[in-house]
């Protein structure tokens, strides 16, 4: 099933795209739609949006992930995801293998298609570029090539999926580039991509500080894009140095102002990841009953992200506040 809500007039340079998170999720994330989120493991996951998706009870999502640890694992735990194409379901020290991901796969509740991180990044790039595939030299000789999570039959019945997981072809330029063969990986064009950035203007132009991970291509590959941000800034401020902007407004459909929108993951120059809260999630995630209690209290039990931050408390948020020079919380106790 395709769920396309082509953003209307998202091309206008003066269109104000600011809306509430509730509205953005309701509008662009629908049951069964194909979704990708930005960030990487413990950094700049769009967590406020993830929790809002769980609160709104979205089901049967098809998720495209490279290593978007925390966000993807909570979406799985929240019961939102039916199928996932992924490179890495781990989350640093808090969860060497993402706990809800691991349990869901072992129980056969989550259909998985495995790729490498580079392959997933290339697949988003192909989608952003508007080409059907890109080439890489990784995968040869491995089960990533041979074992498919989505069978040929399933793919044939799902026109929203490519007909093959990947394809190896002989190099049409002989051994040019030192390669006799290449692995081709198919493009991804998610129905919706959600990223959390430090700064955006009301039209959707974004400036990402620190690493961009695969966010830029995830955005450009998508049919609809929700940007959550720490700060909404004047357009003039961003246009003063256009070469430092990561995403021009033409790709964006919704801009949502959510301070601490990546919490409990980090947002460079704003706050660090919260080692205590990440451990807290891991603790609950290991047990069904505990995790249900956790969801009830910390996700469904709060009105919105601000509600979660109130539960966490200002004291803890102060502890993870980023140092101006380094962009992280210097000396933070991360044991």
């Amino acid at each position: 099933m395709y769920c396309i809500h082509q953003g209307t007039g998202s091309m206008n340079s003066n269109q104000d795209k600011v809306m509430t998170l509730e509205e953005a999720i309701a509008r662009f994330v629908t049951d069964g739609c194909h979704i990708s989120i930005g960030g990487f493991t413990v950094n700049r996951n769009p967590m406020a949006a993830v929790y809002e998706i769980i609160r709104q009870g979205r089901k049967n999502l098809h998720c495209y992930a490279h290593s978007n640890g925390t966000g993807v694992d909570e979406l799985i735990g929240g019961g939102c995801i039916a199928r996932i194409e992924i490179a890495y379901g781990g989350n640093g020290k808090a969860a060497p293998t993402c706990i809800r991901f691991k349990l869901a796969v072992q129980r056969g509740e989550l259909l998985v298609e495995d790729y490498t991180n580079y392959q997933m990044a290339l697949r988003f790039l192909a989608g952003a570029m508007g080409v059907p595939f890109l080439a890489t030299l990784s995968g040869f000789g491995t089960d990533i090539v041979g074992k498919w999570g989505f069978s040929r039959e399933m793919r044939a019945n799902h026109p929203e999926l490519p007909n093959k997981k990947l394809e190896i072809i002989d190099n049409p330029f002989d051994s040019w580039g030192g390669a006799a063969k290449v692995v081709l990986v198919p493009a991804i064009n998610p129905d919706v991509t959600i990223v959390h950035v430090q700064k955006a203007d009301r039209h959707g132009t974004c400036r990402i500080e620190g690493l961009n991970f695969a966010d830029i291509d995830q955005v450009k590959a998508a049919r609809n894009v929700i940007v959550t941000c720490e700060e909404i800034v004047d357009t003039e401020q961003l246009r003063d140095k256009p070469e430092y902007n990561s995403i021009p407004f033409i790709h964006v459909d919704a801009v949502v102002h959510v301070p601490f929108g990546a919490y409990p993951t980090a947002c460079h120059n704003f706050y660090d990841y919260d080692p205590i809260y990440l451990r807290h999630i891991s603790h609950f995630a290991k047990d069904e009953k505990l995790y249900a209690e956790y969801l009830a209290k910390f996700v469904h039990g709060v009105e919105d992200h601000h509600g979660l931050l109130n539960l966490v408390g200002k004291g803890q948020l102060d502890i993870i506040a980023a140092d101006k020079k380094t962009g992280y919380a210097v000396g933070l106790d991360r044991r």
């Binding site: 000789g141 390669a179 460079h268």
Partner: protein
Amino acid sequence: MGYTLQEMMTIMAAREIHNGDIVFCGTGISMVAAMAAKHINAPDSIIFFETGPIDPRLEEIPMAVADPRVMYGAASNGGLLEAFATMQNRKTGRRVIGILGAAQVDRYGNLNSTCIGEYAQPEIRFPGSGGACDVASFVPRYLIFIQHEKRKFPVRLDYLTSPGYLDGPGAREREGLLPGGPTAVITNLGVMHFDDDTKETYLAFYYPGVTPRDILDNMEFSVDVSRAAEAAPPTEVELTILRERVDPHKLIL
């Protein structure tokens, strides 16, 4: 000066890193090894991560490759595409040494970090490749970090996530891989290298206090131990740097 087997393992890896190498790092102990090498024997080595930073300052030890600590003071902060292209690129990639962990390794240095049991509904699911398969495919040499336990050294992998020497001499080339492969398997008991002819692991070093027998007892397949020697223990300088400068808060070791 006493030391733990984890420390020994870290120092053995650090010793494999040469000055001027570009070091691809994962999380955990591999990061400690790379940072130790830079502080001890390879001051001009360059650390980078799959998330995109090149040569970050690393004033605090990162706990993940996306830790904001990998971003500070780097020569550049790109993204995944830049990181992997740096490895696949023929000029820079040929200078890269990777350090990979895994759930299982076989006699040819192939790695499993995906699952135990049937792929569709496994008994145990691990995180998956991440960038490991890419690193193992692109770079000329990489180290494997793994704990020495029988189930981690199986005769046959349940899932081949990252290519070592596949099924032996010539196999990488036949499949289409760039020249390269693993150079050492570094465990908490010893270090294995790969035979130039057979591409199979053999025991190169066992740590002080460990016997080759101990090592064989902790593997499903057996390896040649005839070339094995006792490893030199970590020096006082190595241990001091490791403990005081690299991981002073014992976040990883």
